[in-house]
């Protein structure tokens, strides 16, 4: 007997399902997320000595604006809030608190610099706010056990210096190595990574080191001192301005070491050309993105897409800057993660998606490099390829390798 109870029950069940379905379609939201928008917070050094990195934030903003123009992510617009911290940790703390507590962002993204990120990672982890794809290659960011909400993006400096160390051990076993490095975490991580990668040989092989401050005018004197040590191999860990000076000085004083150059400063347009193209012949570096000044990529659709984004968003002055490509790829990763989160835009789920990326290929990453993460491996990009400068552009050689940095 179909009693009215059954009808009521089935009606209730039906309505519950509909309501539940509606709730699911409406999404689960953490702070900063809604049907119409996703709020992302970011701090960048738009001023001060590190201001040349500010282009990364501008590229992020441009990319997100483009995505919004195309309809957003699952119908939601990205509200990208980016503020200047001048590379000063107290300011970063203040801005992070403002974005988390006042602006109520869903997550912090691509915050730049090791000291600024060190200043806020305790706060963000305590408050369970995702600190994703931060713009620094320091080795300590891959620590899901202690800092489950913090994730880097670029290959760590340790990974890169291990790649160089392996190459040296294999091809230049008797090398006497000199290192020019910036006196901060960026420089020191490379130096320590090199030491670590050379293992027992390190103290024998590394014969001289010289450091410089970003407030210095020049590194010429350091280069001369390093030549004086009798080294036949040089690793330059410097930002573009000083790398260009170093390359030029090495050539000018007639020194011909096996010269390794950090990927941060290997852009043809902003480093090799100012230094003098002929002065950089034979330098070895590593890369994981396509250099926008390299003719071999300039006919591809991927490059043209990137270039179109840059010129349509007032960034034509930065079309030779490799950092702009890195920012582009980073932003694409963020969008991919948010897309994967679907309608479940809670901080937990966003973090979960970030930690389960499977084989993501991005148009401006070098062929053969893809992104995967897991719950114990928070390293996002871990592969690079060695390349040698031939006077016009960088010629990739060897295979795509994973450094075994920590």
């Amino acid at each position: 007997m179909r009693s009215k109870w059954t009808t009521v029950t089935s009606l209730s069940a039906a309505s519950l399902m509909v309501a539940g379905g509606l709730a699911l379609a409406a999404g689960q939201y953490g702070p900063g997320a809604s049907d119409s928008e996703i709020k992302i917070g970011n701090t960048m050094p738009y001023s001060g000595p590190a201001s040349s990195y500010g282009v990364i934030g501008k590229v992020d903003a441009a990319y997100f604006a483009m995505i919004n123009d195309q309809g957003g992510i699952n119908g939601r617009k990205i509200n990208f809030i980016s503020r200047d911290d001048g590379y000063s940790p107290p300011k970063t703390v203040e801005l992070a608190r403002q974005m988390v507590e006042q602006d109520q962002v869903l997550l912090m993204y691509n915050t730049l610099g090791t000291p600024p990120n060190m200043a806020i990672h305790g706060y963000l982890n305590d408050n369970k706010v995702p600190q994703l794809f931060i713009a620094t290659g320091a080795d300590q960011w891959n620590d899901p056990k202690h800092f489950p909400w913090t994730m880097g993006w670029i290959p760590t400096y340790g990974i890169e210096s291990h790649i160089y160390a392996n190459y040296i051990l294999k091809n230049l076993p008797n090398a006497k190595i000199a290192v020019l490095y910036q006196n901060d975490d960026f420089g020191k991580d490379y130096l320590n990574g090199l030491r670590d990668g050379l293992g027992a040989q390190a103290s024998k092989m590394i014969v001289a080191t010289q450091s410089y401050e970003t407030s210095d005018a020049t590194v010429d004197s350091q280069v001369v001192a390093l030549q004086g040590s009798g080294a036949d191999t040089l690793l330059t860990v410097a930002i573009p301005k000083f790398a260009a000076q170093a390359i030029r000085k090495v050539y000018d004083i007639g020194w011909k070491p096996n010269h390794f150059l950090t990927s941060v400063a290997n852009s043809v347009g902003t480093v090799m050309k100012p230094a003098g193209l002929e002065k950089g012949v034979g330098i070895i570096s590593a890369s994981f993105v396509k250099d926008p000044t390299d003719p071999q990529w300039q006919n591809s659709q991927e490059y043209k897409d990137w270039l179109a984004l840059m010129t349509s968003h007032n960034l034509s002055g930065n079309t030779t800057d490799i950092q702009a490509v890195i920012g582009y790829c980073n932003a694409q990763t963020m969008v991919a993660v948010l897309k994967a989160a679907g309608d479940n835009l809670t901080r937990d789920n966003v973090m979960k998606q970030a930690a389960s990326i499977q084989n993501l290929q991005l148009p401006m990453l070098l062929p053969g490099i893809s992104i995967s993460t897991s719950a114990d491996d928070f390293r996002v990009v871990k592969q690079m390829q060695l390349e040698k400068f031939d006077g016009t552009n960088w010629k990739l050689f060897g295979d795509v390798v994973s450094g075994s940095g920590t």
Binding site: S47, S88, P89, V93, A119, N183
Partner: protein
């Protein structure tokens, strides 16, 4: 307006208004203090944090006021002393587990000693030369901090656990720290006022305005100048220690040359030879960069620079430095220091025109 300028008139009027004047000042001061103590409970955590930073900067700027405003010795290096205080507190807390409130005294002592040590050779220098020597301090400090990395954590800095408020008080960490810093600020202002309105202050000002006459009158300029330096760095060092506690992180990058310059700017904007001006300076340092960013995110520091310019044009003696004498002039009360400053102004005016 003869009432405001130094002279028998002004003094007599002030003396007549004496008792009432004093009572009024105490009432206003008390009201402000109560307001300050109650305010954090009406504001969000983030704003409380910002106001705490304002007060920390105010204490630092107060230190600079003592040295540059009252004693006439310019310093472009107070960021370095701020760093010294911050790292003292950080190392004590991180390495030796000292509770945060017990780090203030060591920071004060160490920074006082540093200031005296610095003040001794600084006796030889004046004007731009002294500026260079103090500038060297500001620039050398980050290098030294990075070098002694076993103690300071080097580039990575030191991460600190933020202190918990005493149990049973029922307020959260941000508000508790606000009250702690507020107390420190009030104590600092009291000490400064006592010192500066007394014999020491008069000696400072005499040395600033006319060092030869001061020496001729028997003031031991070397001793007072060194004392000024030490006291100044003591205040700024304590501010630094508080900043380490409140922000929870110290790194060499936090103490750049720009910080030293900010203190100087805050000092000038508030009123270099005032005590209340330090608070205005603190507000300037903390909030104007944020406002500038809101106005123009393309060139915010140009706006900040413009703000500095406009304030100097409108009030070259700083907000409290200009408004203070004006207000006091109207009520007929001017303290010794203000009268001296005005007199020096009149004399200086003839110099360039």
């Amino acid at each position: 307006m003869t009432k405001g300028i130094a002279g028998a008139d002004g003094l007599a009027a002030g003396q007549r208004a004496g008792l009432e004047g004093v009572a009024w000042r105490w009432i206003i001061a008390l009201a402000l203090i109560v307001l300050a103590a109650v305010m954090p409970f009406a504001l969000s955590n983030y704003h409380v944090f910002q106001l705490t930073m304002v007060m920390i900067y105010a204490i630092a700027v107060l230190g600079l006021n003592v040295l540059t405003g009252y004693n006439g010795q310019i310093s472009l290096g107070h960021g370095g002393f701020f760093a010294a205080g911050a790292y003292t507190a950080a190392i004590l807390m991180h390495r030796y587990g000292v509770p945060y409130w017990a780090t203030l005294a060591p920071a004060a002592l160490i920074c006082f000693a540093l200031g005296v040590l610095f003040g001794l050779p600084a006796l030889r220098f004046e004007g731009p030369y002294l500026a260079l020597v103090t500038l060297a301090m500001a620039v050398a400090m980050p290098q030294l901090l990075k070098y002694f990395d076993t103690w300071t954590g080097g580039q990575q800095g030191i991460n600190l656990v933020k202190p918990l408020p005493p149990a049973g008080l029922g307020i959260d960490r941000d508000r508790w720290l606000y009250l702690v810093v507020l107390s420190a600020l009030l104590i600092a202002m009291r000490i400064a006022a006592n010192m500066l309105n007394g014999r020491t202050g008069r000696a400072f000002v005499a040395i600033r305005d006319h060092p030869i006459a001061a020496a001729a009158m028997g003031i031991n300029t070397a001793r007072y100048k060194t004392l000024a330096f030490g006291t100044s760095t003591l205040f700024t060092g304590v501010a630094g220690a508080l900043s380490a506690v409140v922000i929870g992180f110290v790194a060499p990058e936090s103490f750049s040359l720009f910080l030293s310059l900010s203190f100087l700017v805050g000092s000038a904007v508030g009123g270099i030879a005032t005590i209340g001006g330090a608070i205005v300076g603190g507000f300037f340092i903390e909030f104007v960069p944020n406002f500038a960013n809101d106005i123009s995110d393309a060139a915010p520091w140009a706006i900040y620079g413009l703000a500095m310019l406009l304030l100097m044009y409108a009030m070259p003696r700083g907000v409290v430095g200009s408004l203070g004498p004006w207000l006091a002039g109207r009520t007929g009360r001017l303290d010794f220091v203000a009268r001296r400053s005005l007199a020096v102004e009149q004399k200086d005016k003839g110099r360039k025109s």
